[in-house]
């Protein structure tokens, strides 16, 4: 991308709401590509993991048996792009029996009320 695009000066709060499990569909993977690009555009990037989206960052993904690309290492690379605002909804974890220690990246675990307020404060919300 050109420098002019990046330096328009406008910074918006972007949120990617991840509600879908990985591998069954491609949304989780292609959302990540959007996330990386928005960081390159110097936007204020937020990722929310709610509902089945919390499965995206479950530790220990091994796709050899399905011969699909294991894209989960990308989540660990996000902080290299200064993408550090990752929020996981506590209720979504609890419903699925997932503990904080099962997650592969550092995240902020917030409750549903806090997630509601956070989403409500965004300028642009994207979902896949």
């Amino acid at each position: 991308m050109s420098t002019d695009e990046n330096s328009s000066g406008v910074v918006k709060k972007f949120m990617y709401v991840n509600r879908k499990a990985p591998y069954g569909t491609i949304y989780a993977l292609e959302v990540l590509e959007m996330v990386l690009i928005s960081a390159a555009f110097d936007q204020d990037v937020h990722l929310a993991f709610v509902d089945d989206g919390v499965y995206q960052i479950k530790k220990g993904q091994d796709t050899k048996g399905v011969e699909m690309k294991n894209f989960s290492p990308t989540y660990r690379a996000l902080d290299g792009y200064d993408i550090e605002k990752l929020y996981v909804e506590k209720e979504s974890l609890d419903e699925r029996g997932i503990a904080a220690s099962d997650l592969m990246v550092p995240v902020e675990i917030i409750d549903r009320a806090a997630m509601t307020a956070l989403i409500d404060s965004m300028d642009v919300v994207l979902s896949g």
Binding site: Y27, I119, V125
Partner: protein
């Protein structure tokens, strides 16, 4: 904020996902297969009616009619709109959040 839902409440969790995470006072538009949530007599009708207390709920008329329903079959408290008013809603309510 305007929240949009386009999936049947019987098939997917999108409506629930929206209703449990939309801030009070938000607008919610039901369109495509989500229009079924706006109809009378279903087993989600009481939940949707309750939602009209906390949110401004709209349903897209063209999608409703495509599926064989008309205004008379829509729950009280839900406003039937067209594409023009869909555009107006996005103008009036700021950020749009599609619960896909």
């Amino acid at each position: 904020m305007l929240h949009t839902v386009n999936k049947s409440p019987f098939e997917r969790n999108a409506l629930d996902a929206c209703l449990t995470r939309a801030a009070k006072g938000s607008a919610i538009l039901l369109y495509e297969d989500a229009v079924y949530a706006a109809t009378k007599g279903t087993n989600v009708a009481s939940r949707v009616s309750q939602a009209t207390q906390a949110f401004k709920v709209f349903v897209l008329g063209p999608d409703l009619r495509a599926r064989g329903f008309d205004e008379a079959q829509v729950l009280d408290g839900i406003t039937v709109i067209g594409y023009d008013e869909f555009v107006d809603l996005t103008v009036e309510h700021g950020t749009v959040n599609a619960w896909l």
